[in-house]
């Protein structure tokens, strides 16, 4: 699973520009599930199984996109000004490296700081691609870049950019692999949605869910932890298992979906944590409000330093998430 994760995180794919990531994912899944489609916004949707007695149509979503930067202006000396895509924070940019979709790389610099103890605003930063001048700069207004950091393997812990939410993507791919490998029987039809534009307002999930019109929705995304020095209070820690989300800023998980998830974790003795997230939202929020409503929940992978170039997850949490999903998706859900 680690090499899959590494492959996924090293691709640039900010919101709206997910095609490269999508290609890699499609190659992994198209022989495992049928009917691979790409919808009008770029969501990749594959279908596994069919609805049998006691089964439902379940939508599983993990977003392909990551936060990034978009070029607004190139000055005469070849320095590149930018705006942000998704929840980028100034404090995470200074001195960082970026890679454009075209492959060009650069570093982020800033104007002179009047107060060195504070991060400057975005308007006072720029990307330096090492160009000699405007003519020499191969970047154009509208070009898109993502953070650039090599994947770091620390044993059971892994550090990379865009683990939000390539780890979720990897979990869904592995789940599909396991369902296939173990020839799992399930009463449900599973729609795997590798969604776009989550970081800018859960847009891909909105349209994918409308198109699919599922009975139940489940997002797989990252969540914060409370286990680092003087962190915001949070009852989730790295390595203690995937987290079953009760609520976040965007939605309250449907209690029936929560119960279904807890029952599967308990019955199969899979370690898990209970999650209440005060800042942050996921695709589940959009799925829940689709059409006449879709009972929805979210399985979270604990992650430190979210939206920084060096996010950290624990491989065991991801593997346990896969085990939980494989067990869960065989179980009927009581929506009474």
């Amino acid at each position: 699973m680690k090499s899959l994760i590494q492959k996924l995180v090293e691709i640039p794919g900010p919101s709206g520009f997910e095609s490269q990531v999508r290609e890699v994912i499609r190659k992994e899944v198209e022989h495992l599930a049928g009917n691979a489609q790409v919808d009008n916004l770029g969501n990749l949707i594959v279908s596994w199984g069919e609805v049998k007695a006691g089964g439902l149509k379940i939508l599983l979503a993990a977003h392909m996109d990551e936060i990034g930067l978009m070029v607004t202006h190139i000055d005469e000396r070849g320095f590149v000004r930018f705006t942000t895509i998704g929840g980028v924070r100034p404090v995470n940019l200074l001195g960082g490296r970026v890679r454009f979709m075209s492959g060009i790389q650069g570093v982020i610099g800033s104007e002179r700081l009047s107060d060195a103890s504070k991060a400057p605003a975005f308007e006072h930063m720029f990307i330096d691609v090492g160009a000699a001048g405007l003519a020499d700069c191969a970047v154009n207004v509208g070009d898109v870049a993502a953070f650039e950091r090599p994947f770091l393997d620390l044993g059971s812990r892994m550090v990379a950019k865009s683990l939000d939410d390539r780890i979720g993507v990897a979990v869904l791919i592995e789940t599909l692999r396991e369902l296939d490998r173990r020839k799992i029987e399930s009463p449900h039809q599973l729609l795997f949605v590798f969604s776009v534009q989550e970081e800018v307002g859960v847009r891909g999930a909105t349209t994918a869910a409308y198109g699919i019109d599922p009975d139940v929705g489940l997002a797989v995304d990252v969540t914060q932890t409370g286990d680092t020095p003087n962190s915001a209070r949070m009852d989730v820690s790295l390595g203690k298992g995937p987290a079953i989300k009760l609520r976040d800023q965007g939605m309250l998980a449907d209690p029936r979906v929560v119960r279904w998830m807890l029952a599967a974790a308990e019955a199969n003795r899979i370690p898990y944590q209970r999650e209440v997230l005060e800042r942050g939202n996921t695709d589940a929020e959009a799925i829940q409000l689709t059409r006449s409503g879709v009972p929805s929940g979210c399985l979270s992978i604990p992650c430190r330093y979210i939206h920084s170039p060096s996010e950290m997850v624990d491989l065991n949490d991801a593997q346990n998430a896969v085990q939980l999903l494989v067990a869960l998706l065989q179980q009927a859900i009581d929506l009474a």
């Binding site: 009852d235 609520r247 939605m251 309250l252 209690p255 929020e285 829940q288 006449s292 009972p295």
Partner: protein
């Protein structure tokens, strides 16, 4: 003003029971069951939406020969604000809010901790929200009112008793029982929006022996306080021709400016603004005048913070109206409303529903 009839007494008794029933956003089962029991005898069909809103249908007396009769959707949200357990520290519970709360009303409030799983057999546990002494808080939290993240719940149990019984995600609702002030006024928590549910129930009572030309959907919506999920999805499912959101509006309590509030006990409000169809406002205004129900125009320059926000933009869009019941001290456990205003609202809704006919939609046009 409707005389006190068995209907009105029944409505007020239902309201008092509703006010003591838990039902936080997304966890409305207990209050939904109570409303369902009250609506059973008053409707032709009851169902529950995918997300848990309650739909009660009064059918048109003579449906048209083809197609469905036009329908009216009357929405009152049944969820209430409260809190949720985020952690356990030395036997005390840490909290986050569900719905919007002013942290300053929390210290000293009596609460009840409910298990997050509605099917759990675990007992509800009483507790108090407490404010730690300042010296226990980090520097930036001192000298001010205590932020919610530093408030705790003391259940009176020992730390090991708490560990056994309470979990992250458990729900915390206010434990304030209803306070009666003679015959006219009532206070407590969840008057936002159970007074509207009571008004809607009174409307159904008034319609019992009347023949309707339209289908009328009474909908107790879910999750208004958090995402308006109920409004968006019930409107999408039912596709009514007209929709009315009934909610509370700001009453004239202490600390509130006169120009932003309406006196309680002196009538209801009719919304006006982009979230409301002007023809509907005018229809309701005329009807209220004929019924001698006092009303005031409530200017809503942007979006109303009610179910109307979701109802109006479902699918192809629905002409929407907002009716407001003035409420003092909104979003505290001591909200106060006038019983007269509740009954007036119910009566206005009933008369509106009864007045709908095959020509009504011709009048709901722009620039008429």
């Amino acid at each position: 003003m409707p005389a006190i009839t068995p209907h009105t007494t029944q409505t007020i008794n239902l309201l008092k029971k509703l006010l003591s029933e838990p039902g936080l956003s997304a966890y409305e089962d207990p209050v939904r069951q109570m409303i369902e029991a009250a609506w059973q005898p008053l409707t032709d069909e009851i169902s529950i939406s995918r997300l848990g809103s309650l739909h009660g249908l009064r059918r048109a007396a003579r449906p048209p020969s083809e197609g469905k009769p036009p329908s009216l959707l009357l929405a009152a949200h049944m969820d209430a604000i409260g809190l949720m357990v985020t952690g356990v520290v030395d036997g005390f519970l840490t909290l986050t809010e569900v719905g919007g709360l002013d942290q300053r009303i929390l210290p000293g409030q009596r609460v009840i901790v409910h298990p997050a799983d509605p099917r759990s057999s675990r007992q509800d546990l009483p507790g108090i929200i407490v404010r730690p002494p300042e010296y226990l808080l980090p520097g930036q939290a001192r000298g001010k009112s205590t932020p919610i993240e530093y408030l705790l719940v003391d259940t009176g149990l020992t730390p090991s008793q708490v560990e056994e019984q309470i979990q992250v995600g458990d729900l915390v609702s206010f434990a304030q029982p209803p306070i009666e002030f003679g015959e006219d006024y009532l206070a407590g928590h969840t008057l936002d929006n159970r007074v509207s549910v009571a008004a809607l129930t009174f409307c159904l009572e008034e319609l019992q022996n009347r023949s309707l030309a339209w289908d009328v959907w009474a909908v107790a919506t879910t999750q208004e306080e958090e995402t308006m999920a109920g409004a968006f999805t019930s409107a999408f499912q039912l596709r009514p021709s007209l929709a009315v959101a009934i909610d509370v509006t700001f009453g004239d309590g202490a600390g509130s400016s006169g120009h932003k509030t309406f006196p309680i006990g002196k009538g209801i409000t009719l919304g006006w603004g982009p979230n409301i169809h002007p023809a509907l406002h005018k229809t309701f205004a005329g009807l209220a005048d004929r019924l001698e129900i006092p009303w005031k125009l409530e200017p809503v320059p942007r979006m109303s913070g009610t179910d109307a926000y979701g109802l109006q933009v479902a699918a192809e869009g629905i002409p929407t109206m907002v009716i407001g019941i003035p409420l003092r001290y909104m979003h505290t456990p001591v909200e106060m409303a006038s019983i007269k205003d509740i009954l007036r609202t119910g009566r206005l809704l009933a008369e509106f529903a009864a007045s709908l006919d095959q020509n009504t939609m011709d009048r709901i046009v722009w620039d008429a």
